[in-house]
Each structure stands twice: as structure tokens, then as C-alpha cells.
């Protein structure tokens, strides 16, 4: 069996620390009373409630954005329809017939037909 050294050193204590983890007992100097606990629980509930409210409001804010976009689409569609109508009016036969271009046209003296 060959033996290879690792490049990284790890102490024996570190690799086996689980064996020694309870060797020292930590005692906090800060002591929380029952009132503080109740207040803390209440605060936690409040925070959770706020988180819920923020999420719900965020969904609603998307609705407003969607509404704005819908309104914009409707406005643009109206504008497009308006332009189409304007175009249709300008290219209406009566307008074309009465245009200066049409009025200056003359009948051809002779017509030659080319077979397609």
C-alpha cells in the first residue's frame, strides 16, 4: 500500500472535532424572560404577515402594469384604425378620380396588345 501526502495540512483535532464538540459548555450571560419571548413570537408573526402582504401587493402591482399596457395597446389600435380610415379615405375612388394626376390623364390614341 502506497502512502501519499496531501498538499493541504489538516490537524488531527480538526478532522476529529466531532468527538470533542461537547467538551466545553457555553452559558449565555443574556437571559430572555417570558414577556420577551412572547414579543419575539409576535414580531415573527408580524414579519411573516408583512412578507405575505408584500407578495400579494406585488402581484397586484403587476395587474396595474398589465392594465397600463392594455390601455396603451387599445390606444395604439385606435390610432392604427384611425390611420387606416384616413388612408382609405385618401385612396377612395372619388378622391382618386378628382385628383390632379387623374385629371391630367388623357385617353391613349391607340392601344397595342401584347400577348402574355
Amino acid at each position: 500500500m502506497s502512502y501519499q501526502r496531501t498538499t493541504q495540512f489538516s490537524s488531527r483535532r480538526a478532522s476529529n472535532w466531532s468527538r470533542n464538540q461537547n467538551t466545553t459548555r457555553f452559558t449565555s450571560n443574556v437571559k430572555l424572560g417570558p414577556v420577551t419571548h412572547t414579543v419575539l413570537v409576535a414580531l415573527m408573526i408580524t414579519v411573516l404577515g408583512l412578507i405575505y402582504l408584500t407578495q400579494a401587493t406585488r402581484a397586484t402591482s403587476y395587474d396595474y402594469q398589465a392594465q397600463e399596457i392594455d390601455t396603451k395597446i387599445a390606444d395604439l389600435s385606435t390610432r392604427q384604425a384611425d390611420l387606416e380610415i384616413e388612408n382609405a379615405r385618401l385612396t377612395a375612388l372619388e378622391n382618386v378620380k378628382n385628383s390632379s394626376v387623374a385629371k391630367s390623364m388623357t385617353k391613349p390614341a391607340s392601344t397595342n396588345y401584347v400577348s402574355e
Binding site: P34, T60, T78, A81, D82, I85, A92, L93, E94
Partner: protein, 584 residues
């Protein structure tokens, strides 16, 4: 940590207090959420939920323009400008702005309207365009609001008014295609049921939301070609001006498909101003809704029957004495002098009634119009050619007309002798055009149609309408060839100089007496002309059928003088428009 819950201690008191409060909450919530659940749920729904109607857009209407569809009826968004007089403190600036921008669309007496402070809603202007509405909005007038609505617009003005019809103030289609296809054009409104905020903005929260999108109306593409329609209308107007006729109609049909290319009626109206029409008769499309006695145009059909049944040939002859007796009646020719043994071609050229009565007789025993002859004529006229039968063209107000059957006590030999030259029957122009198309196209009857198909919402493609009923071999193709040649000859004999050279046209004049109080009167006649044009059968056959009708109260109008020039005008123009190549 150890809770100190010793009797009388603060934590114990607090715990008890919290427990009591919690218990109160639990009991109250149980009552509200469980016991009173239904009540509060419905109250909340009522408060928060809104139902919005998603209006379906009325379908637009297209016509053809040399094979390409173009919109001729569109939807325009317009605004009604209203005010809350209670909010408006100074009326004059509002009046100035409305009058300056809305112009003719502003209501009169704006000052009086705005002075009604007890009212919360006064209309200041109607049918204001988007541009005008935006200009008014830019003025930031407090107490002024806008209501959006749509209205029909007709960029081509009066073009094809009777074929189109109009949409009334209740948004319901009346007359024409608007009336007949109202349901298809209207579509189906959608529904949005959702929780909404105080400004009625729909929100996605809630579980009972319903969103059924609106089903917009069909965008119908008509077979009418706007250029042919426009020329037909102007040619009719000019022709009526020449003759002094007060009423006139023109129909142009593709004989190879039954598609209507134009239907013009005068007097006409502007569909966008239908409310200003004084005589509602202008709304009627006479080409489909006014049955009349077409007169000698029908001789072409009688001839086709004779040729199809083999009782006459183009060079067959009969003895013309300028009158013929049928039972106790004597029927005379309008044109006299072509007496002796003459061909049926000559009878057609000179429109001799006697010739066509003899064809009816030949369908019987040769000397009288027997029941068998009448049955044959009825079968052709009514069952095969569709005279006196609704064509089911997709327009409102089609009239059926009448072909009296031989079984009727009025369906005797005298009536059928009259029917052989187009009297004693009530038919519409569309029926006659469809029947005439049948006899010149090789013998196929195509049900007349005015709907090409439905345009997709983005205007990119047409879903072609399913083909309507057609009947093949109504007459044999050889009979059709013969009758077409005879009709061509009838026109060429007298009127070929009017036609553009190199094309194959044919037609027949018609002048019919009118019935008043059940009696024919001579002081009023209706002039008609029925013909076709295009190439001969070796180059594709006829491309169009045109029927012209002109009339006027107490006016003697004739087919040859008053209707024929209108046909010639439209025919020559259509030959150029269709880019048909002349022969020779």
C-alpha cells in the same frame, strides 16, 4: 430557560390574558369564517367583484379591387364629450375650447347646458374624432369627460349603398349585407369577471375570475369589384340623365361563377347619413327586391328552351304575320313589317313576339300552348332557371317574384304566351341575370352570390366561402353555344358599331308595359337591356353579364334607346378593365 408560572406571577397573568384574548379571537373567527361564511363571502364578492363586458368589434366589409380586397366599411372610434356642470366653475373657457375643436360636432347652446348646475351629466359634443378628443384633453378642463364608442364609416361614400345597407343607432344592421349578415358581423361580446379596485382596474387576485374573450364579427369580403361598381353607378347616372329616367338599376355578374360584380341603384343615399334620407325607397336594392316584368329579355330564355328541347334551330323558320291568336287574345309584334317566312334569328333581332309564341306552341302540339308545353316552360323558367325562386343571395330584402304555374287557374295558354316574351311574370334582376348566365355559359346554373369569403383579423388571407348550389346541364352545351351565337348576332346586327372591336358581345333589348291597377298601361314602359361580353368560347367565353333597367313614372322608356347605351358604356369599359385581349 424556565417559565415561572407561579400563582399571581406576571407571566401567569400574561399567559392567562393571552389565552383569553386568543379564545375570543378563535370564537369570533369561527363565527365569522365558518358559521357566517356564505354571507360574508357573497358580501365580499359583491363588493370586490366586477363584471366587464368585452365588446366584440363589428366585422368590417371588403370589396374587391382588381382581385385584391379593400375595405369599404370600417369601424371608427369616436368620442362623446360630456361635462359635469356642478364641477365647472367657469363655463366660457370650456365653451370656447369645445366650439373651437369640436366645430360642427358641438351641441348648440353650450352655455345653457353648462348652466344646469343641478345636472351632473350634459353632452357637449358627439362623434368627436380621436384627434379632436386628444386636443380637448390637452386643454385639461376639469369636469369634462369622454365616452368612447364606435361608428361605421364608408370611405367610398355612396358606393354600393343598397348592397351594403347601414347600421342603425341600436348597432343593428339594416338592409343590404349589414342587415342580412347582422349576426355574423356583430360577433359575440366577451366577459371579464374579476376582483377590481375602486377605479375598476381588474386584479388577478380571487379564485372566481372568468375571462371569456370577445368573438369579433366576421370581416366579410364581398364579390363586388369597387371599380366596376363605381363605373356602373356613373354610367347609370349619366344614362338616366340622358333619358330623364327617375329610377334605374344595373347588375353585373360573372356568368362562370354567379358572383355579383356590381349592383347599382338610383336614387341612392349615403349610408353614413341614413337618418337624413327622406324616401325610404332609396334603401331598397331594386336588383333583388323589386320584381318586375322584364319583357323581351326573356325571349333569350324561351329561345334556349326551344333549342334545348330541339323544337327550333337558329335557321328554323316560321310564318310571321305580325300577330298571332292565342285563344281569344291577339298578340301583336311591336316592330311591324318583317312578315313572311323568317328565321328565329330574325325574330330575335327584331324582337318579334310572334316568333316566341310559336316556340311555346312548338313545345306543345305545334299549334297551341298545351298543358305539356306549359309544364315544360314552367319547369325551365321556375325549376331550372330559378325565376320566381329566391336565390338566397346574402342580402336583406330579396323578393321572390312570381311564375304562375300551369296548375293555377291563371296559368293558361294566354299567360304562357305572354311569358314567352317576358310579360305575365314577376322576376327580379338577379334571377334574370343568373338565368341568362346559365344559357350562355354552357348550361350551368350558379346560385348568385355576393360573398367571396371571410378575411382574417390581420387582413392577410381570405377564407373562401363554400361554393353555393349549382346545377349542371340545365340546358345542353350545344344549345348554349347556339343561343349565345344568336344573342351575339342579335346585337351585332344593329349595334356592333358601338362595341369595342375584337370582342364577343351579345345582348337583347327589352321594353315592357307596366301594370297599374291590374291592367297594362301604354303610357309607362320600363326599358331594359340584358347582355354579355368577353371573348368567344375558344378564348374563355363571356366574362360578364350586364343587366340594365330604367324607369320613370308616366315615362315611355325603351330598351334600345334608354337602357342599351348604359350597357354599351359599362361593357366597353369592363373589357378594358378586365384587360381582355381583343381578337384580330
Amino acid at each position: 430557560m424556565q417559565l415561572d408560572l407561579a400563582k399571581g406571577s406576571r407571566p401567569r397573568t400574561l399567559a392567562i390574558l393571552v389565552l383569553i384574548i386568543m379564545a375570543v379571537f378563535v370564537v369570533r373567527l369561527f363565527y365569522l369564517q365558518i358559521i357566517r361564511n356564505d354571507f360574508y363571502m357573497s358580501a365580499a364578492k359583491q363588493e370586490q367583484q366586477r363584471q366587464f363586458v368585452l365588446p366584440a368589434a363589428r366585422g368590417e366589409i371588403y370589396a374587391m379591387d382588381a382581385g385584391k380586397p379593400v375595405k369599404i366599411v370600417m369601424n371608427e372610434t369616436v368620442y362623446t364629450v360630456f361635462a359635469d356642470p356642478k364641477i365647472i366653475k367657469e363655463s366660457q373657457p370650456v365653451i370656447d375650447v369645445i366650439q373651437r375643436i369640436a366645430g360642427g360636432n358641438a351641441r348648440a347652446n353650450l352655455d345653457k347646458l353648462l348652466a344646469k348646475k343641478e345636472s351632473r351629466y350634459q353632452i357637449l359634443a358627439t362623434k368627436v374624432s380621436l384627434k379632436q378628443a386628444e386636443m380637448i384633453k390637452d386643454e385639461n378642463l376639469s369636469g369634462v369627460g369622454f365616452q368612447r364608442e364606435t361608428q361605421r364609416v364608408y370611405p367610398e361614400g355612396q358606393l354600393a349603398a343598397q348592397a351594403l345597407g347601414f347600421v342603425d343607432f341600436e348597432k343593428k344592421g339594416q338592409y343590404g349585407i349589414e342587415g342580412a349578415q347582422n349576426e355574423r358581423l356583430t360577433g359575440k361580446d366577451g366577459l371579464l369577471q374579476t376582483v377590481a379596485d375602486v377605479r375598476d382596474v381588474p386584479l388577478t387576485i380571487g379564485k372566481d375570475n372568468i375571462h371569456t374573450p370577445a368573438d369579433n364579427g366576421d370581416n366579410i369580403v364581398m364579390t363586388i369589384d369597387r371599380n366596376i361598381q363605381s363605373h356602373a353607378e356613373s354610367a347609370l347616372a349619366e344614362g338616366m340623365k340622358r333619358s330623364g329616367a327617375t329610377n334605374g338599376s344595373v347588375m353585373v355578374m360573372d356568368p362562370q361563377t354567379g358572383k355579383v360584380l356590381a349592383m347599382a341603384n338610383l336614387p341612392t343615399y349615403d349610408p353614413s347619413k341614413y337618418g337624413q334620407v327622406l324616401d325610404a325607397a332609396a334603401f331598397n336594392n331594386a336588383t333583388i327586391s323589386a320584381p318586375f316584368e322584364p319583357g323581351s329579355d326573356i325571349k333569350t330564355l324561351t329561345l334556349a328552351i326551344g333549342l334545348d328541347k330541339g323544337v327550333v334551330e337558329p335557321d328554323s323558320t316560321y310564318n310571321n304575320t305580325d300577330f298571332i291568336k292565342v285563344e281569344d287574345r291577339t298578340i301583336s309584334n311591336a316592330t311591324k313589317g318583317q312578315t313572311g317566312t323568317i328565321t328565329y334569328q330574325r325574330a330575335l333581332n327584331y324582337s318579334l313576339n310572334t316568333g316566341f309564341v310559336t316556340i311555346a306552341q312548338k313545345l306543345g302540339n305545334g299549334s297551341s300552348i298545351t298543358r305539356g308545353a306549359r309544364d315544360t316552360m314552367y319547369d325551365y323558367f321556375h325549376n331550372k332557371f330559378g325565376l320566381g325562386v329566391l336565390t338566397d343571395i346574402e342580402l336583406a330584402g330579396e323578393a321572390q317574384g312570381t311564375i304562375v304555374p300551369p296548375t293555377d287557374q291563371d296559368g293558361g295558354a294566354v299567360r304562357y304566351s305572354n311569358m314567352s316574351f317576358g310579360q305575365g311574370m314577376d322576376v327580379t334582376m338577379v334571377q334574370v341575370c343568373a338565368a341568362f348566365s346559365t344559357i350562355i355559359n354552357g348550361g350551368t346554373y350558379y346560385s348568385p352570390t355576393i360573398v367571396e369569403g371571410v378575411m382574417s383579423d390581420d387582413g392577410s388571407k381570405i377564407e373562401v366561402a363554400p361554393a353555393k348550389e349549382s346545377r349542371q346541364n340545365v340546358i345542353s352545351s350545344s344549345a348554349s353555344d347556339k343561343v349565345r351565337a344568336m344573342i351575339h348576332e342579335a346585337r351585332s346586327t344593329f349595334y356592333s358599331s358601338n362595341d369595342t372591336a375584337g370582342y364577343y358581345t351579345g345582348g337583347k333589348t327589352g321594353t315592357s308595359q307596366t301594370l297599374r291597377d291590374g291592367k297594362y298601361i301604354d303610357s309607362e314602359t320600363v326599358g331594359t337591356y340584358l347582355g354579355f361580353g368577353g371573348n368567344d368560347s375558344s378564348s374563355g367565353g363571356p366574362k360578364y353579364v350586364i343587366m340594365v333597367q330604367v324607369s320613370g313614372k308616366n315615362m315611355n322608356l325603351t330598351g334600345s334607346v334608354d337602357a342599351l347605351p348604359i350597357f354599351t358604356d359599362i361593357s366597353n369599359w369592363t373589357l378594358d378593365y378586365m384587360k381582355l385581349q381583343p381578337k384580330g
